[in-house]
């Protein structure tokens, strides 16, 4: 293929593909090392590996978000809205994070009717959940609670923790869509919130579109990350 025909999209896609392969191999290798250590009773190393695995999960989440936003901007995201089981999608997101959640000894509970089906793009909602779980992982003390339910004709997806909650400065400007005026604590680029709020807005039905909101409270008075989809 002549040079000028290699587009930026191709580069992004192929690099991300490559990075994801590497990431997958890394995670797989780390998990087997951790298993070995656990067998030998070397819990200190297991603990350290947990942190590394968490960082790998964050990296994966960022890759998904970058590629997603790029495609939203170009209007080339293959939005595929079909009916899915919420219980299945949540179970899979938790499964994807089992290892790093286990390392921190976090307890995850889910509250979702097994018969709850909704129309959405599976990968976008998985990406949103992954982002919410990574956040909660960082801020929670001991547990994370995921709720999926129908409220006023919308699907409400909540990820709640028992941490200190969001700082007042973030809550005061709760228009996550605009994403302006939010001062992110260090380590946060704002990418996650931006992605989730864009991904939520990609879901439309009739005149309504999806949204992202944050609040403090929920089951344990910690941070609540709420996605609503029409």
């Amino acid at each position: 293929m002549p040079q000028d025909e290699i587009s930026f999209t191709d580069f992004i896609a192929s690099s991300i593909h490559d990075m994801k392969n590497s990431l997958m191999m890394q995670v797989h290798a780390l998990e087997s090392v951790a298993a070995e250590c656990r067998q030998k009773g070397d819990l200190e190393t297991v603990q350290k590996l947990g942190g590394v695995l968490y960082e790998a999960s964050r990296m994966n989440s960022s890759l998904i978000q970058l590629l997603g936003i790029y495609k939203f901007d170009k209007a080339i995201y293959p939005m595929d809205v079909v009916e899915h089981s919420l219980a299945d999608v949540i179970a899979e997101a938790v499964m994807q994070n089992t290892s790093n959640l286990n390392f921190k000894g976090l307890k995850i509970t889910t509250e979702c009717d097994p018969d709850l089906y909704w129309y959405f793009d599976r990968d976008l909602v998985s990406g949103m959940l992954l982002n919410a779980l990574n956040n909660a992982y960082n801020y929670t003390k001991s547990r994370i609670h995921i709720v999926a339910r129908q409220v006023n004709g919308m699907l409400e997806l909540r990820v709640e923790d028992d941490g200190r909650g969001y700082p007042a400065s973030m809550l005061s400007n709760n228009s996550m869509g605009a994403n302006k005026g939010i001062h992110f604590s260090k380590g946060s680029t704002g990418l996650g919130f931006h992605f989730v709020s864009r991904a939520a807005r990609m879901h439309k039905n009739g005149g309504t579109c999806g949204s992202l909101a944050i609040e403090n409270g929920g089951q344990w008075g910690g941070g609540c990350f709420i996605v609503r989809l029409p």
Partner: protein, 541 residues
């Protein structure tokens, strides 16, 4: 996962032939270990698409886990298309694409080229296990429908869908979608429209709205079809199916300029679809946009190198573009390349020979042009006269250029006779005559040919009514030899044969004759109403 389910999954996996395709050694090993840990036993691996094809040909795999990017050679998508097109995998087989990002083709392509599922990287064992379990369950629940579809038993497939729908399954949408496709295929448009409208009453989903557009298209309400497809695209520009149908609609309306615009947009979004690039090349050529046609055809050749959609028409098309751009040497080179690629395919050779004749004629090399045409005539004979209307018209065009008006007219007469009730084909034939300044002759020929077919059919039906069955059957049999593609002749003959069975008894030979006619029409046009009627009558015999 419950223990029970896990046990069934393990039992199923133990029996299954599993193929893992990934160009990356580390990934292959990892996937293999994962599948093994879940319960897989008979696991093969391939490191490339080429290797995978030979394995798929040899063994009937039940589960294929395939990476999308496979390095040089075909990618996962092309591999899947080839496997499905050539029946290397059965209807019950599960194909999972492992990928870093989902692509348009993976989710927006036609059903037969979509994987059963895709898994975004990174994957872990638990995920693979749950997905496999779900897919195997789903395949089992669709098994009856898919088997009926594969044997082209459309009515049976609809019955199976209805049975499932009554059970209110989790994948209700999927089954409704399959049912609606079948309804469209066999021409039950009203029922399809009702189905789409009932889905749309709950939520505006693009597949149902596109489906409604297809109903409008099939019932020739092109304005409405155009509006609906455009609306789907306005909401969801990446929904390629609507874009493909919009192009079809615009073509039917004769608006090739607008069709080109839509195709250009579609190709921008999904540049690696050989089918769309080819359509763009053909449309641009029609519109006289030779530069764009050249780019599109060249691109098609490049991306379809490993695709089952590789076609000789693209080489012929590119050659014509070069020829019109006064680059005959390049044109001949392209044709030479085409010949190399499509050895042993008489259809492809014929297409190439016709194009060659036109190129030589334009160069002023009459001898060589005639030589190529002689070869084309010869190949046409080999094909038993079974040319599609498009190729026959192309050949007629070349004959006109050579000044062989008679042979051209004879070919066109056959085209009209084989499709005497298609106004679209008559219009195309007329346009061809007009471009040779032979409008009046064209009109007369079309009129006479259509009348001839109508007369024969009327005569056959009248003889049948008079009780002269054998005479009627003989008349239509002879007519069918002259116009082997005529649905009307086939169906009238079929009707007479059924009466014959009713009157003078059934025999295996007679029934086989009727079945063959029904099958031929079903392949030509699954929506033919008479064919459904007679199939029912045959079953009632």
């Amino acid at each position: 996962m419950s223990q029970d389910k896990e046990q069934t999954l393990i039992a199923q996996l133990k029996k299954a032939n599993i193929l893992i395709i990934d160009d990356f050694q580390g990934m292959r090993t990892m996937l293999r270990n994962m599948v093994k840990d879940v319960g897989g036993v008979k696991i093969d691996t391939s490191a490339s698409g080429k290797e995978a094809i030979s394995q798929l040909k040899q063994l009937n795999y039940d589960i294929v886990i395939c990476d999308y990017n496979l390095g040089p050679g075909p990618n996962g998508q092309q591999l899947l298309e080839e496997a499905r097109l050539n029946n290397y995998i059965g209807a019950a087989a599960v194909w999972i694409m492992v990928t870093a990002e989902k692509t348009t083709d993976m989710v927006m392509g036609a059903a037969e080229v979509k994987p059963d599922d895709y898994i975004l990287k990174p994957i872990n064992q638990d995920m693979l296990q749950t997905r496999l379990e779900k897919l195997l369950l789903r395949k089992k629940s669709l098994g009856g429908i898919e088997a009926a579809l594969k044997s082209k038993n459309y009515v049976g497939a609809i019955e199976q869908c209805d049975l499932k729908i009554r059970e209110k399954p989790a994948n209700l949408q999927e089954i409704l979608r399959i049912k609606s496709d079948v309804l469209l295929t066999i021409g039950r448009f009203e029922e399809a429209a009702t189905l789409f409208e009932s889905v749309l009453a709950v939520r505006s989903v693009p597949w149902a709205k596109t489906g409604l557009g297809k109903v409008k298209f099939h019932t020739k309400d092109y304005e409405a079809a155009k509006r609906i497809f455009s609306e789907v695209l306005a909401d969801n520009r990446i929904f390629m199916e609507a874009s493909d149908w919009l192009v079809k609609t615009l073509d039917a309306m004769g608006d090739t300029v607008q069709a080109q615009k839509v195709l250009q947009d579609a190709v921008g979004l999904s540049p690696n679809s050989a089918v769309r690039q080819k359509a763009l090349g053909e449309t641009a050529y029609k519109n006289g946009d030779l530069d764009l046609a050249q780019t599109a055809f060249e691109h098609t050749i490049r991306i379809s190198e490993f695709s089952p959609h590789k076609s000789a028409a693209v080489f012929a098309g590119l050659a014509k573009v070069f020829s019109e751009k006064n680059s005959p040497v390049e044109a001949l080179n392209v044709l030479k390349q085409g010949k190399r690629e499509f050895k042993d395919s008489p259809g492809a050779e014929l297409e190439t020979a016709i194009a060659e004749s036109m190129v030589y004629e334009k160069m002023g090399q009459q001898d060589k042009a005639l030589e190529a045409m002689a070869q084309a005539q010869h190949l046409k004979g080999d094909l038993g006269g079974a040319l599609g209307p498009a190729m026959a018209m192309e050949m007629a065009k070349a004959l006109f250029r050579l000044g062989n008006k008679e042979a051209a007219a004879a070919l066109l007469r056959d085209v009209v006779k084989n499709n005497h009730d298609s106004a679209g084909i008559s219009a195309q034939v007329q346009a061809l005559f007009e471009s040779e300044q032979l409008g009046d002759e064209g009109r007369a020929l079309i009129q006479a040919s259509r009348q001839e077919v109508i007369n024969i059919n009327n005569q056959g039906v009248a003889l049948g009514r008079e009780g002269k069955l054998d005479e009627a059957i003989a008349l239509l049999r002879k007519a069918l030899q002259e116009m082997p593609g005529s649905e009307t002749v086939m169906m009238n003959l079929c009707g007479l044969l059924i009466v014959q069975v009713k009157k003078s008894g059934r025999s295996d030979e007679r029934l086989a004759g009727i079945r063959e006619l029904l099958y031929r029409v079903q392949v030509l046009n699954p929506a033919n109403k008479k064919q459904h009627e007679y199939t029912a009558a045959l079953n009632a015999l």
